[in-house]
C-alpha cells in the first residue's frame, strides 16, 4: 500500500512571530522555517507503517514556493521514498491545498493519506477533512493510535471527553494528533541519501486546480497584550488578593 503524507513549510515553532508594521501579515523574511510539527508526526507514522510492512512506498507532498523542496527533503531524510511538490508562489488556503492533494491522490492512488491535524501558522485544522470530503473517503481526525487490518483502519481519536474509537473503510484520510508518536530525527547518512531521492515538481494549472483564496485577509494585528501583574510573597497574601482585589474566590 502506498501512503501519501502532506508536509507544510511553516515558521519554526520556536520563533516568536512578528506582525508586519503595515498589518498585511506576519514577517516571514529571514525567519527560520521548519516542517509543521503535526506533519512530522504524519511522516513518522507512515515510516513506522513501512517498517511494519503495512506500507510499501511513502510519498511526501508539499505545496507552496520552491523552498518547500527543503521541507520535502526533511521528510525524505526521515524515511519517505519520494516527493511531489506543487510549486506556486500564490497564497494557498486549506480548500486549495485539499484540491491539489486530491489531484495528486487521483494520480498516485495511495491507500492512505496522513496529514497533520493543524498547521501551526494559520491554525485552520481543515485540510485533511476537506481532502476526505473531496475524495469521498472516510476520515480519522486527531488520531492518537492507528491499526491497519484487512481493508480497514481502526483509529483512536483524541476528542473533548477523552478518546474515541472508530473503524474506517480504506482508503482513508488520517489527521495526526500529538500523542500518535514521537517523530525521529534524520541521521546524517539519511540526510545525504535523501539528496538523491526524486522530487517531482508540478504546477497547479497542470493539475487543473484553481487555487484562488476564498478568504481575503483584510488585516493582521497584534493581539491585545496582557500586562504582567505582581508577585506575592505568601499564600495568605494571594488569597487576600483573590478575594478582595480580583473577587474571583
Amino acid at each position: 500500500m502506498k501512503v501519501l503524507v502532506a508536509v507544510k513549510r511553516v515558521i519554526d515553532y520556536n520563533v516568536k512571530i512578528r506582525v508586519k508594521a503595515d498589518n498585511t501579515g506576519v514577517e516571514t523574511a529571514n525567519v527560520k522555517m521548519s516542517m509543521n510539527p503535526f506533519d512530522e508526526i504524519a511522516v513518522e507514522e507512515a515510516i513506522r507503517m513501512k517498517e511494519k510492512g503495512v506500507a510499501t512506498e511513502i510519498i511526501a507532498f508539499s505545496a507552496g514556493p520552491a523552498q518547500c523542496q527543503e521541507t520535502i527533503r526533511t521528510a525524505l531524510a526521515m524515511g519517505a521514498d519520494r516527493g511531489v511538490l506543487v510549486q506556486t508562489d500564490a497564497e494557498l488556503q486549506p480548500l486549495a491545498v485539499a484540491k491539489l492533494l486530491k489531484a495528486v491522490v487521483d494520480k498516485e492512488q495511495p491507500g492512505l493519506v496522513i496529514v497533520g491535524k493543524q498547521a501551526i501558522d494559520d491554525d485552520s485544522n481543515a485540510t485533511g477533512q476537506m481532502l476526505a470530503a473531496l475524495l469521498g473517503w472516510s476520515q480519522g481526525t486527531f488520531a492518537n493510535k492507528l491499526n491497519v487490518a484487512d481493508g480497514s483502519i481502526e483509529v483512536k481519536r483524541e476528542v473533548d471527553g477523552g478518546l474515541e474509537n472508530i473503524k474506517l473503510k480504506m482508503p482513508a484520510v488520517i489527521t495526526t494528533d500529538l500523542r500518535l508518536n514521537e517523530p525521529r530525527y534524520a541521521s546524517l547518512p539519511n540526510i545525504m541519501k535523501a539528496k538523491k531521492k526524486p522530487i517531482e515538481t508540478l504546477a497547479p494549472d497542470a493539475l487543473g486546480v484553481d487555487v484562488a483564496p476564498r478568504l481575503k485577509v483584510l488585516k493582521v494585528e497584534e493581539p491585545p497584550k496582557r500586562k504582567a501583574g505582581i508577585k506575592v510573597k505568601t499564600v495568605a497574601e494571594l488569597v487576600d488578593k483573590l478575594k478582595n482585589e480580583a473577587g474571583v474566590i
Partner: protein, 311 residues
C-alpha cells in the same frame, strides 16, 4: 437568509457551547435555526428550542447520526445548507471534525475558530497560536464558520422555538463507531468551568496531580494541564489546555508548575485572572499572570488548599 447552527448533543441536551454558537449566529442574522440530528434526540431538540434567539429547531431522527460520524452528518448539513447564508458550529472536537468536511462538499472555504463577528462576511480569527489576529472576509456564497465558544457570551434559556421534524440521509457506510474511553469526572467541564487549576511538567508525576485535584475540589474548579504534562502521561489528553488542545477563559486560572510556553498561553490567556505558581521566577508564565508566587508548588498548593478552606 437564516443561519444554521449545527448542534452537538448527548441526546438529553445540546452541548453547553451551542449557546455560544447561537450567540455568534445572532450577531450574523436574527433568524437562527439549530440542527439537532441523532437517534432519540427529542430531549436535545427541546433544549435547543429553549435557547434565546433560536427561531426554529430542525430535528432529525436517524440511527446513522447516533455517533456523530462526519462522513454521515456532513451530507445532511450539505443538503440543508442552500437554504442558509451561514453554517455555524462550535470549534470543539465535533465541529472541527465535521465543519471542514461540510465546507469542502459545498466547495467553500472555512473560517476556523472565529472570535469576533465583524459583519456577516467578515470575522476575526487567531493565527499563530493567538500571537496574531487576522480579520478575514469570505467571498463564498455559503459561509462555513466555526466559532471559539469562550469569545461569545452564551445566550440564556426560556425561549420556545418550534421544532420541525425532517428526514435523514441514512448512513454512507464509510466509517463506524466502536466505542469511547471517556474520562470520568465529577468536576466541572474544563471549557465552561468558572475556575480552572492546571498542572504542568513541574508536577513530576500523575500521582502528584492529587494536590491539584484537592485544590480544584475546594474551589469547585475544573482540572487542566499543559501539553508537557499530557505528553509525559501524567493526565489524559482531554486535560490539555493550549493551541492544539482546549481553549479556556475562566474567571480564575491557576497555573501550577507550568512554565508558560506560547502554545499553552494560547489556550488560557483570555482568562480574567491568572495565578502562576512556579519555582522559576524567570518562567514566562509570570509575564501574563496577575498574581505570581515563586516557590515550591508541593508546599504552596496544599497551603493554598487549606487557606481557601477557611473562607
Amino acid at each position: 437568509m437564516a443561519v444554521l447552527v449545527v448542534a452537538a448533543h448527548d441526546n438529553k441536551s445540546v452541548r453547553a457551547n451551542v449557546a455560544n454558537a447561537v450567540a455568534a449566529a445572532t450577531k450574523i442574522d436574527a433568524d437562527v435555526h439549530v440542527l439537532v440530528a441523532g437517534k432519540d434526540c427529542a430531549e436535545a431538540a427541546k433544549s435547543a428550542a429553549a435557547l434565546q434567539g433560536v427561531t426554529k429547531v430542525l430535528q432529525v431522527e436517524d440511527a446513522a447520526y447516533a455517533n456523530w460520524l462526519a462522513e454521515d452528518i456532513a451530507p445532511l448539513v450539505v443538503k440543508l445548507a442552500p437554504n442558509y447564508s451561514h453554517v455555524v458550529m462550535a470549534a470543539d472536537s465535533v465541529g472541527k471534525n465535521v465543519a471542514p468536511r461540510v465546507a469542502a462538499l459545498l466547495d467553500v472555504g472555512q473560517v476556523s475558530e472565529a472570535i469576533q463577528v465583524v459583519s456577516p462576511d467578515t470575522f476575526v480569527r487567531p493565527i499563530y497560536a493567538g500571537n496574531a489576529m487576522a480579520t478575514v472576509q469570505s467571498s463564498d456564497k455559503i459561509k462555513v464558520v466555526t466559532i471559539r465558544p469562550t469569545n461569545f457570551k452564551a445566550v440564556g434559556t426560556g425561549g420556545s422555538a418550534p421544532i420541525e421534524q425532517i428526514g435523514g440521509e441514512g448512513g454512507k457506510g464509510l466509517s463506524s463507531y466502536v466505542g469511547a474511553e471517556l474520562s470520568k469526572s465529577e468536576r466541572p467541564e474544563l471549557t465552561s468551568a468558572k475556575i480552572v487549576v492546571s498542572g504542568g511538567r513541574g508536577m513530576g508525576s500523575g500521582d502528584n496531580f492529587k494536590i491539584i485535584e484537592a485544590l480544584a475540589d475546594k474551589l469547585g474548579a475544573g482540572v487542566g494541564a499543559s501539553r508537557a504534562a499530557v505528553d509525559a502521561g501524567y493526565v489524559p489528553n482531554d486535560y490539555q489546555v493550549g493551541q492544539t488542545g482546549k481553549v479556556v477563559a475562566p474567571d480564575l486560572y491557576i497555573a501550577v508548575g507550568i512554565s508558560g510556553a506560547i502554545q499553552h498561553l494560547a489556550g488560557m490567556k483570555d482568562s480574567k485572572t491568572i495565578v502562576a505558581i512556579n519555582k522559576d521566577e524567570e518562567a514566562p508564565i509570570f509575564q501574563v499572570a496577575d498574581y505570581g508566587i515563586v516557590g515550591d508548588l508541593f508546599q504552596i498548593v496544599p497551603e493554598l488548599t487549606a487557606a481557601v478552606d477557611k473562607k
